[in-house]
Symmetry: C2
Subunit: 600 residues, 2 copies
Amino acid sequence: MPNYISPLRDINFVLNDFINFEKIYERYPQSKDKMNSEIVDQYLQVAADFCENELYPLNRVGDQQGCKLRNGIVTTPDGFKEAYKKYVELGFPALTGDEAYGGQGFPSLLWIAISEILTSCNWAWGMYPGLSHGAMSTIEHHGTDEQKKNYLPKLISGVWTGTMCLTESHAGSDLGLIRTKALPNNDGSYVISGEKIFISAGEHDLSQNIVHIVLARLPNAPAGTKGISLFIVPKFNIDQDGNILDRNGVVCSALEHKMGIHGNATCALSFDNAKGFLIGPENRGLHCMFTFMNSARIGTAIQGLAASESSYQGALAYAKDRLAMRSLSGPQNPELSADPIIVHPAVRNMLLTQKVFAEGSRALAYYLSVYVDIAKLSNDESEKKIAEDKLALLTPIAKAFMTEMGVESAKNGMQVFGGHGYIAEHGMEQIARDVRISTLYEGTTEIQSIDLLFRKVLGSKGELIKLLIEEIKEETQHIPQHEEIASMYIKLENLVKEWHELTTYIQEELSSNPVEVGTISVDYLYFSSYVIFAYLWLKMAMAAQDKISQESTDEFYPAKIATAEFYFERILPRTLVHAELIKSQTKSLFKLSPHQFKFD
Amino acid sequence: MPNYISPLRDINFVLNDFINFEKIYERYPQSKDKMNSEIVDQYLQVAADFCENELYPLNRVGDQQGCKLRNGIVTTPDGFKEAYKKYVELGFPALTGDEAYGGQGFPSLLWIAISEILTSCNWAWGMYPGLSHGAMSTIEHHGTDEQKKNYLPKLISGVWTGTMCLTESHAGSDLGLIRTKALPNNDGSYVISGEKIFISAGEHDLSQNIVHIVLARLPNAPAGTKGISLFIVPKFNIDQDGNILDRNGVVCSALEHKMGIHGNATCALSFDNAKGFLIGPENRGLHCMFTFMNSARIGTAIQGLAASESSYQGALAYAKDRLAMRSLSGPQNPELSADPIIVHPAVRNMLLTQKVFAEGSRALAYYLSVYVDIAKLSNDESEKKIAEDKLALLTPIAKAFMTEMGVESAKNGMQVFGGHGYIAEHGMEQIARDVRISTLYEGTTEIQSIDLLFRKVLGSKGELIKLLIEEIKEETQHIPQHEEIASMYIKLENLVKEWHELTTYIQEELSSNPVEVGTISVDYLYFSSYVIFAYLWLKMAMAAQDKISQESTDEFYPAKIATAEFYFERILPRTLVHAELIKSQTKSLFKLSPHQFKFD
């Protein structure tokens, strides 16, 4: 099994050289004293030690053992419970929590960095605390003071965990179809009944209580998405001091058999006259849910990054070690029976492709979470609005693209291993199975593309795109004297122009026909993603060149610039297809009648 | 679990309308009386019944149970043994076997069609008889009369099965590194000792004996690929009448834990002073192996086709049934709570992408196997040579592209299912796991691309490409009066021109630098593959239009033309990236030193 090493050098580069985070966070009183290099380094080192030593060794254990359901009780794989106990002792659950309820009040950027390491080491395990974040932030944003007092301290300390209960077997992407019912009691609480599926961390043995956030319908609620409300339903009822009472009417009726993430309990939950509490306004449940959904989407994007990183690390180690055939330019290691396979162009191509997606995804995720923080921390309404707008635009891109590239990276990881990539003990096939969920849950790639193009781009009449294009122009106006960087800049400039033209074309020529917009939305998402990555890679190259100009002799920096070049040379041409598909007609897509659409 | 229906309608179209197989096979005395519609239909129907009713129900059983190794004995999943018994009773193992040894002497085209159905129903099971074909053809081509007499009748009848033992743990793509030894005995036999891995069907309970074809080194053999010989090593020694004697010195020391194809026993085999027999000339083992490898590559290509077909069938059924959201053009089924997801452009796009790869792969595989047959049946040296040349060119393309497209189709299949695609009971994730081996074994995609570009294209100084371009011109010279077909024809014409130009460019500009050729070989393989598929899709559209001109009212034909249009409109633009990557410089690929290539 390949060893995982926390990529602290690159994380450090992204935080300091690329984002220059101290300069940003010192602007806000809530983060000023927290976000300095010393503290951040310390947290990252503690996280790296914990993840590498405690979580990583459990990664394959979790995959092999999976979770077990017996008489309604779910047992997680060996060691999961003990690792969670240590995680709580180290204080990680409280990292970003509200200080009023025992949290440490750190901005999300630090959590994102830690979360990357955690997910790279053990995706399935990482989902247990990950889901708690969703529940916490929903209660923080939409709960009453009493609800906050009742639930937040225990969730923040990690003694309890949380879930999000959205999906029903007939209602996934289309939540308007859900049927779970909520009937009011006389005391202001509700009786919740219905069947939910795909509830990650829905039942397990890590925490004393589980706080479910549940979508359900009130009596006489309007049909569809406008008749859905949000409820808190704890696994165990609690008294007003937060003490655990009797078991509530919610049980795990089944565990799903999945392709991967075996260590996480994906539950079917039966709500049978469970006691629940309305959170947020009646019939505004989906709206409240969006708070959670956006953070869940960034969390899923991180999972894509983690798959790119861990499959890259595995493949790189193997490519340096495995001997097969001679270099096409003649033997590189004549003393060995053959050359290590990293000498072969196709292998290098796969490794560098993984590298640009791992490091590029890191840049995007961290950069995005700075906007998450600014939107929360800033008191300047205009700055806040810009951050929210950019987040709105970039979230579906990060979610869809980083997970799709995670899938591609994991495939490359197996491919570098040849036949050994298919064998469980090498760990590469587990990454490929685990990552496969990420383009499906929290809104498929196709759903993200509709969100991006219909809601964000056309919905803002192109304003969000313009906002980002302005940023790109501003951030790249001081291009250093450097041949390769100058050449990348010209490519980016042309590409941004093309992006703007394509967007205008869609607005002017296609937007009256939603089917045509839908037809090209996935290609538009990919095109936009490659533009964003080009921007980030150019900025990273510039940051690296800055260091070189300051006489740094660290080999990391020229390697970073060369990696950026690879992105521009070998990856960016992919935009050609997407541009062509956006511009060209698609008469054939709807030609076949359902009747003709058959195979027998 | 989605139901599989043998796609006999499309198979029939490819055999009759596209290939016009009767006209081809009536030219050869050995096939004249065998290959007529009546006989072929009958065989296909028997195969379809057997595969759908016996093999398909065992597909998930095999995945769940896997094979078990206890005390050197491998047990296959429940039902596998009984299904194999029926398969033998039905006479399928003998289908293409030499009539002199009890075979039925059918050309490979019929076997390819049956093999598609078989693999679609149960990939893992299909590998047991599949591997026997490799052993049989090796003995047929290279065995002595005595070896043929000793082994062929039992292999052909299916009472025994066979394997191919190539890989060792340190030697996969680079077989020159193998270490298994063969020491001569006084009686003309050899003592074989060594460790082989990844031996599919290496040990199991389906057959009375297993005939291993083993690569090993003779004493003082030259190093590398020129010092490898081929041996027959039976699991049980046999007497001169083919009766089973004592156990030979070969045991299964371990079963691999794999991502998929769990029902097939992937064995580590220990050869410990096993008795073996040289087959073919000394030190010419790899050369003899190529006979098998080419047929194995086509067999693997078929597996890619099977994954495209079965994932397409599953996704199509689900897309017609699953309700979510309304069509972007307004409700299509107002009586239902939502529209079936087949109305959504992204879903249609995925389904049609699967369809063009499933049906296009079928066309390529069947077309290719006609050349396999002509190369074998023809007495006309020129016709034979042309068939062999085209086979040489098209085999790496079919192997690599059809398996990669199988992987893509399986991914689409899961994606259409949304979160349900990740759940085992729906069957889609099994297809994705099973198919993943196909771009790895029998030479990775990257190895195929090197074979294609170095050996076949540059090795023939471009002659093989010219040969195929001539065929394309000849076969598409009578384009019917049909707007869409005419438009496809123009696109193909331009594309073929570009293919020729790119090939010339590589020959003239790059061939002096093998590293540069290696850098673009995968892109060249993809570009070539999309050209071949464009050719086949145009030919299929022409064949369909032919039927329409003959007053056929079968809706199958206009659907076929519309599917071809989809290929030209939505798939063919992918060539833009590959052409660009072939033409553009890649200064960045080797910029990073191994030392800079790190993550910590």
